[in-house]
């Protein structure tokens, strides 16, 4: 899976979670760019990402995922290891 495919998938999830279909993400996007993206939404987005890509994040990883780019590289790492 390419980085841009993963980015598209995460964009879908964030649009659903923040209920805004106009959102466009880049690897540099972070939670603080969006007022609604609070710590609970963050968990929601992380969980939906796990389901969508069939991966599992560790407790410590959830804390460390700040930028959308962090999501992408972690997912790539896990998909390759699988």
């Amino acid at each position: 899976m390419t980085d841009s495919e993963i980015l598209d998938g995460i964009t879908d999830i964030v649009r659903d979670a923040l209920e805004d279909d106009t959102i466009v993400l880049s690897p540099e996007s972070t939670a603080s760019d969006y007022a609604d993206w609070d710590s609970f939404k963050h968990i929601t987005i992380v969980v939906a990402t796990e389901v969508r890509f069939g991966v599992k994040f560790k407790t410590a990883e959830i804390e460390s995922m700040r930028k959308v780019g962090d999501f992408i590289s972690l997912i790539q790492k896990k998909l390759k290891a699988a």
Binding site: I13, D16, A17, E19, D21, S39, F40, I43, T44, V47, A48, V51, F57, K58, T59, I62, E63
Partner: protein
């Protein structure tokens, strides 16, 4: 989408497009929203649908909702607000809607005890107690003796039972207690039960204890512990999320959790489904009887698919035994369709098991309408099980209120699919439930007799009806409460009362209570009418009058009124005051009091009307019902 989630609902690849068009449509109504809830949707889409529904319903409030409206309060000990959208969407799927109030976590005791709290202002009609396992079990102490461990559990369980009592006393509300999620890993292993202080054992023990206490108190259990046995604790609980945000139930399971809560609430409102309508070819047996003949059917020993069909028939038979009505709707010649029932040695279900049997070439939507009419139940009481995606989609399009499970391709999975969907959620069982199938069957026979007899009086006479009426009693109080809470059509005021309130009415000397049974030559119809009369300045006010639609058109209303007048006169009342409060479902009784000779006194803008019948001028109706007894 997890495979275990909402798998009985159809998948809709265009769901997001449909969602957007409903969102953009200013006239989109409750039905359009409810339809969106009828598909497999994940927790994110569930939240979006809930947000949309809340926004839309503020502008266009839904009609046909139960009265009084459902106000659900959730009292929990950890984060639970993320489950609320899924509960509302679960209700929406059942064409219900609720206001939901969540107490701040950990505050449930204060909220319950303080009359000035937000909970008291909210006046819940249902309270869900949702405690997480760590809160209940406390710090584990595996070294405890059996006596210590068990007395600890008992103490906790008794404490929660007191909370239920408090809730019922304060609000006369329904109570739902969620069982503890088995989140703790074992310490001893296979024989964990031998370690008294094991948290895993204590959770199991606690859940058992709660069930016993709940039964004595009319509290309904939300059995997420049983559900975990089906899906696995790994799906339901992720320790990482607990540590991150005190989230006990994995958010991805929220849609299923919400559906489980919604089906209990719906059952409490009398909105569970009542009748399973089955297709025949490739649903009850393998093959097409019209083409393959009885000998060519795949059914029974010697073939895995054949055994799966037998097993499914057994499941259906057991559903019938617990009170689900059965019917057949099949595209077939009737003669061919009946043949396997009379000739195939492996058929578990026999023809008399079905209250209605429609095998013809008419479209299935029309046939389902006929079945609902013939059984005198609403279309929204029907569940239609058919292996053909064509028929399923046709029925979903024509009759969105009929539940249509997405049956798996393998008949070995039919039974589990129906069970997962929870259509027939039952919260109590009465003797009448256990004989319901027989009653409806006898009814269908009466119906056949009626259509074959041109003149009604001679038909009624041939039924040899006997009525047994009397005040409410302890023996019948559960059944009476059940009728009060689920009768929608023949119900003049649609007032719902808890069993406690029914018992209170029974105790009061100035309140007239009447329960009516009807027997005829086909059998005992059970309690078919309930009346509550309260004294008012103008006479005896009929607060509640309801009747089972099974006995419509049989002069039961007239015979009941005769008894009611007699009783009111004995108590010195000068008049009977009837009240009619219209709902979406009770149009059938709009002219009830007029037909019985009452005159209208008053009518307000929402259509509520009051009717009066002076007692001294009353001439009892002639009926073909023998009054068999009026026990004191």
């Amino acid at each position: 989408m997890l495979a275990s989630q909402l798998s009985w609902l159809p998948n809709n690849p265009a769901w997001r497009d449909d969602f957007r068009s409903v969102a953009a449509d200013d006239d989109a109504d409750f039905d359009a929203l409810s339809r969106l809830a009828g598909f497999q949707i994940d927790f994110l889409c569930t939240e979006r649908l809930d947000t949309l529904a809340q926004r839309k319903l503020r502008a266009i409030p839904p009609a046909q909702l139960p009265d009084p409206p459902i106000r659900l309060a959730i009292l929990g000990s950890s984060t639970i607000s993320y489950l609320v959208p899924a509960i509302r969407v679960g209700l929406l799927r059942r064409r219900l809607w609720a206001q939901v109030h969540v107490t701040p976590y950990g505050q449930y005791l204060q909220e319950l005890l303080d009359p000035g709290s937000d909970l008291h202002k909210f006046r819940p009609t249902v309270i869900l107690f949702a405690f997480d396992a760590r809160h209940v079990i406390g710090l584990p102490a595996a070294g405890m003796s059996r006596a210590e461990a068990d007395s600890l559990i008992e103490e906790k369980a008794t404490h929660y039972a007191e909370l239920w009592d408090r809730a019922q006393q304060a609000f006369s509300c329904r109570v739902i207690q969620q069982t503890m999620l088995p989140v703790f890993p074992e310490l001893l292993g296979n024989n964990e039960h031998r370690l008294p202080g094991s948290p895993q054992r204590m959770v199991a023990r606690f859940n058992q204890c709660m069930r016993e206490l709940a039964d004595g108190r009319r509290v309904d259990v939300l059995a997420i512990d049983n559900r975990v046995q089906r899906d696995g604790i790994g799906l339901w609980h992720e320790p990482a999320l607990w540590h991150k945000g005190k989230i006990e139930i994995a958010p991805a399971m929220a849609p299923l959790y919400g559906d489980l809560v919604a089906r209990i609430v719906a059952a409490q409102c009398g909105r569970s489904h009542k009748c399973l309508v089955l297709d025949l070819d490739n649903t009850l047996w393998g093959g097409v009887v019209g083409d393959d003949g009885v000998e060519g059917l795949v059914l029974g020993q010697g073939n895995a698919a054949g055994e799966a069909f037998v097993e499914f028939q057994r499941y259906v038979q057991q559903l019938s035994a617990r009170g689900v009505i059965l019917a057949v709707c099949s595209k077939n010649e009737e003669k061919a369709a009946l043949e396997p029932f009379s000739r195939h040695p492996e058929m578990v279900l026999k023809r008399p098991a079905f209250a209605a049997f429609l095998a013809n070439w008419t479209d299935k939507a029309t046939n389902l309408r006929h079945i609902a009419e013939r059984l005198n139940i609403g279309l929204d009481s029907l569940v239609f099980a058919d292996d053909s995606p064509f028929e399923r989609n046709l029925v979903r399009r024509e009759l969105p209120m009929v539940a249509v499970p997405e049956l798996p391709e393998d008949p070995a999975e039919y039974a589990q699919c129906l069970a997962d969907a929870g259509y027939f959620e039952g919260i109590g069982l009465t003797a009448e439930d256990l004989s319901r199938a027989d009653q409806y069957r006898a009814n269908a026979e009466r119906e056949t007799l009626r259509t074959s007899m041109a003149d009604l009086p001679s038909y009624l006479k041939s039924l040899e009806m006997e009525m047994i009426a009397g005040p409410f009693d302890r023996l019948s109080q559960t059944r009476i409460t059940q009728l009060i809470n689920k009768t929608n059509q023949f119900n003049l005021t649609t007032r719902r009362y808890s069993e406690r309130e029914v018992a209170e009415a029974m105790e009061r000397a100035d309140v007239v209570t009447l329960q009516v049974r009807l027997t005829d030559k086909f059998g005992d119809n059970g309690i078919i009418a309930v009346v509550i009369g309260k004294p008012s300045g103008a006479g005896l006010l009929i607060d509640t009058w309801l009747m089972s639609c099974r006995v419509l058109g049989r002069q039961v209303e007239q015979a009941t009124l005769n008894l009611l007048v007699k009783e009111a006169r004995r108590r010195g009342h000068k008049a009977l005051i009837g009240e009619f409060r219209p709902t979406q479902k009770n149009i059938i009784v709009r002219d009830h009091y007029k037909k019985l000779g009452f005159t209208r006194q008053d009518c307000d803008e929402s259509g509520n009307s009051l009717w009066q019948l002076p007692i001294d001028q009353f001439v009892p109706f002639d009926t073909l019902i023998t009054i068999a007894g009026m026990p004191a």
